[in-house]
């Protein structure tokens, strides 16, 4: 007799207890059908033309929540009986307590705050010999209790001694969690800090670099942060929900490129916007989060600072299909026509999204935003993440960065790519920083890199350890919830086979 869904979870020896609890909760969430859905949306889901990222049918919290931790620093938290922290050790403990109470789609906090800013009041403790040990325990505690690679911290754009200590520890400890992003602006961030970050990034695949000049100019009213993979969202807000358009599958319905642009695509964009409306309405009006959570009541988050996210994947395969290009080596990434069409398609989606009046997102101009989603393991090779060039067909570095820089503009709530380098680059941190500076000047939003022989590697947007993937392959448990995604992306999406850029960068 086939096992029930519940039995499959509770008898799976590769799942830790915490992973089983979460899997059971997800199962329960997907049994309810109170949430309204358009039958056409359900049909499109079944056909693989859209995807709900298994967000469930009864969302009881926004997908991504970015608490404003400055309130914790200023006032503490009455619900958690935390007083305003008086020193670095207290702050670290307060944060560790707080993190356990920040929900998200993964049930782990996807944003831990900006460590440079949060720790700044205690900068004078940097020279204290015990400080490094306090921070070491803090980071270790995060890795071993918030066991999910979408847990994300920010540093920068300014330098502090404590930031340097955190980067040193990041390199020493080689942990998958937390993901870290440096908010980087070449005119603001001191060069020493940037070079330090490049060194750590090449050794342990983090921190990534976010184009602070670009993002901060788009967030003049409300500061942003990078959460989860590379999602740029309001601090004190976040993202309600992230369904996805699977552009390749959608393109198979079109007679030709014109039919796609004028008939097929707009239908699916309308459908996804309607679905986002329905989910947001449910989260805000039906579930209790915005009515009773201490995060809302004490001002750590504010409803109107959230927005709906329109996920996009498979740009490359979509345009190749519409242009009848079968060999990816001559398609998107190597073909001006394909790239022009990609630009037109993204412009079209952007136009429809921007014309739609979003719900409960007045501090985002009542708009939902496009997001170049990083892909999930079940996408296989059908849909490359966001607007990326498919794995194995990456053009020379200059062409690659130029293409992406052109398309990143369409994705204000997050897009990014990973560049894999060999030893010749990891020995020349100045050269890597020059590349980042150039790409950011051209409009690239987010850059991340790693050396080919790291253990901690970036899969599509999150970090896993290759050694942990091996554990799962051998039927053992892995403490990190995301190792299983990494394994799937490695096996089905060749995610770890990104081209290695060497000394000739071609």
């Amino acid at each position: 007799m086939e096992k029930t869904e519940v039995m499959k979870i509770i008898s799976d020896e590769t799942l830790t207890y915490a992973q089983q609890v979460l899997a059971l909760a997800r199962l329960a969430e997907s049994y309810d059908d109170t949430l309204k859905r358009n039958p056409l949306w359900i049909k499109a889901l079944k056909e693989g033309k859209v995807c709900d990222l298994n967000e469930g049918l009864a969302p009881y919290r926004p997908r991504y929540i970015l608490p404003d931790y400055s309130i914790l620093l200023e006032k503490g938290c009455s619900f958690l009986e935390i007083e305003k922290p008086k020193n670095l050790t207290e702050l670290c403990f307060d944060l560790l307590i707080f993190y356990r109470h920040v929900p998200s789609i993964t049930s782990y906090p996807v944003y831990l705050g900006n460590f440079t800013e949060l720790f700044m009041p205690f900068e004078d403790e940097a020279d204290n010999p015990s400080t490094k040990e306090v921070l070491r325990l803090f980071l270790k505690s995060i890795d071993k209790t918030l066991c999910d690679s979408f847990v994300h911290a920010n540093v920068g754009p300014n330098r502090s001694k404590l930031t340097d200590i955190i980067l040193d520890l990041t390199k020493e400890m080689q942990l998958a969690v937390p993901n870290i992003t440096l908010l980087y602006d070449e005119d603001v961030t001191p060069r020493d800090l940037a070079i330090h970050a490049v060194d750590v990034m090449l050794a342990t695949s983090k921190p990534s670099f976010a184009n602070h000049k670009k993002y901060s100019s788009e967030h003049s009213n409300c500061p942003y942060a990078i959460a989860s993979c590379y999602n740029a969202l309001n601090v004190g807000g976040g993202g309600y929900t992230l369904p996805r358009l699977r552009l390749y599958k959608i393109s198979t319905e079109a007679k030709d490129a014109d039919d796609f642009m004028n008939n097929v695509l707009p239908r699916y964009v309308d459908l996804i916007l309607e679905n986002i409306d329905q989910r947001i309405k449910f989260i805000v009006e039906e579930s209790s989060f915005f009515k009773s959570s201490f995060l809302v009541k004490e001002g750590f988050v504010e409803r109107e600072k959230f927005t709906g996210m329109v996920g996009v994947v498979g740009v490359a395969e979509c345009v190749n299909n519409l242009l009848g290009i079968e060999n990816k080596a001559f398609g998107f990434g190597h073909n001006e026509k394909a790239e022009k069409l990609a630009y037109e398609i993204l412009s079209k989606i952007e136009k429809i999204v921007n014309e739609h009046k979003g719900l409960y997102c007045s501090k985002c101009d009542d708009k939902y935003q496009m997001h170049a989603q990083v892909g999930i393991d079940t996408d296989g090779l059908d849909d490359a993440p966001g607007c990326r060039v498919p794995v194995g067909f990456e053009p020379p570095l200059f062409e690659h960065l130029t293409l992406e820089s052109t398309l990143h503009g369409f994705f204000p709530c997050g897009v990014g790519d990973i560049f894999k380098f060999d030893q010749t680059w990891s020995k020349s941190k100045d050269a890597v920083l020059d590349v980042i500076n150039g790409a950011f000047r051209k409009g690239l939003r987010y850059f991340t890199a790693y050396s080919e022989d790291n253990d901690v590697v970036r899969v599509t947007g999150y970090l896993v350890k290759k050694s942990e993937i091996d554990k799962l392959t051998n039927g053992e448990q892995s403490i990190n919830n995301c190792t299983v995604f990494g394994k799937g992306a490695k096996e089905k999406g060749r995610a770890l086979d990104r081209k290695v850029y060497g000394k000739n960068s071609d």
């Binding site: 020379p396 570095l397 200059f398 960065l401 010749t424 680059w425 020995k427 020349s428 100045d430 050269a431 890597v432 920083l433 020059d434 590349v435 500076n437 150039g438 790409a439 000047r441 051209k442 000394k503 000739n504 960068s505 071609d506």
Partner: protein, 279 residues
């Protein structure tokens, strides 16, 4: 408008000087180094046509005494380079300053400068002057990568114009230098002193060889005394990749140990060389 033979242009190079640089490899070199890892840059193409027959993709043809290369058919297998009896390449193109400038303009936001290498770029001083004047206008730096075969004191304008020279000193002992390169090192050593006096020595490089401990020590010892803390000294471990048969016969199919190079770096540091790197 002068055109010079170009072996290769590289948009992004992390290994030709500090930072990310556009690298230009010119064709032709007066030395015949046994361990040269890009021997196809040594001579100009004599249009003998051996490569035309060997190319598996039909990317080469001979027309009115010249080899015509069709880049769109090339798969980069390098068969043409392997069969060339003349230490050359059929892919070499004659290019003008304007053509190279437009390639640099494309990648400009990503680079901090250009490096002209080879072959031996000092064979084309007037071309380099024109190129550097234009590149400097873009706010980029210009480095020369040279084996020191040509006396820089005769190229003072170029030296003043450039931001620095990365100079190979392959051997301090003249006889050994002749054995390695087929030429004397008198001009090389003269260049070392001259560039130091002009404060234009960006880097000195010595290839650390297997089986020649005395020569390695002699070169590193003397060069490091001369440059002291005024220049970076890069010790390049011999690697067999790309080395032609006669070089392999002399030095073997080996890679020099990092620990051995470290010991030589230590010697250089003892002599007052602050910035010693191993590659």
């Amino acid at each position: 408008m002068e055109k010079i033979p170009i072996n290769r242009l590289i948009d992004f190079s992390p290994v030709d000087g500090t930072g990310n640089r556009f690298a230009i490899f010119v064709q032709k070199c007066p030395f015949r180094c046994l361990y040269c890892h890009n021997p196809e840059t040594i001579n100009e193409c004599s249009a003998c046509g051996v490569c035309v027959e060997a190319c598996p993709k039909g990317a080469l043809k001979k027309e009115s005494g010249a080899i015509i290369y069709d880049e769109s058919k090339c798969v980069g297998c390098d068969t043409c380079l392997r069969v060339c009896p003349n230490l050359s390449s059929p892919k070499t193109r004659y290019m003008s300053v304007e053509e190279i400038e437009s390639r640099i303009t494309r990648v400009r936001p990503f680079i901090r400068g250009i490096t002209v290498s080879g072959g031996e770029c000092a064979l084309y001083p007037s071309f380099l002057e024109e190129l550097f004047i234009r590149v400097k206008r873009m706010g980029l730096t210009c480095l020369i990568d040279s084996n020191g075969a040509k006396p820089f004191k005769d190229l003072e304008y170029l030296v003043d114009l450039c931001d620095g020279v990365m100079l190979d000193v392959k051997a301090y002992d003249d006889d050994f230098h002749r054995k390695l390169t087929s030429k004397s090192n008198a001009v090389v050593i003269e260049n070392l002193d001259y560039l130091l006096s002009k404060n234009k020595l960006e880097e000195v490089r010595t290839v650390i060889l297997p089986k020649y401990d005395d020569q390695n020590r002699n070169t590193v010892d003397n060069v490091s005394r001369i440059i002291g803390n005024k220049s970076r000294y890069k010790l390049i471990r011999y690697r067999y990749y790309g080395v032609r048969e006669e070089g392999l016969k002399e030095f073997g199919k080996v890679i020099v140990d990092e620990s051995y190079a470290q010991a030589l770096a230590e010697l250089a540091r003892k002599n007052g060389c602050v910035d010693v790197v191993i590659s």
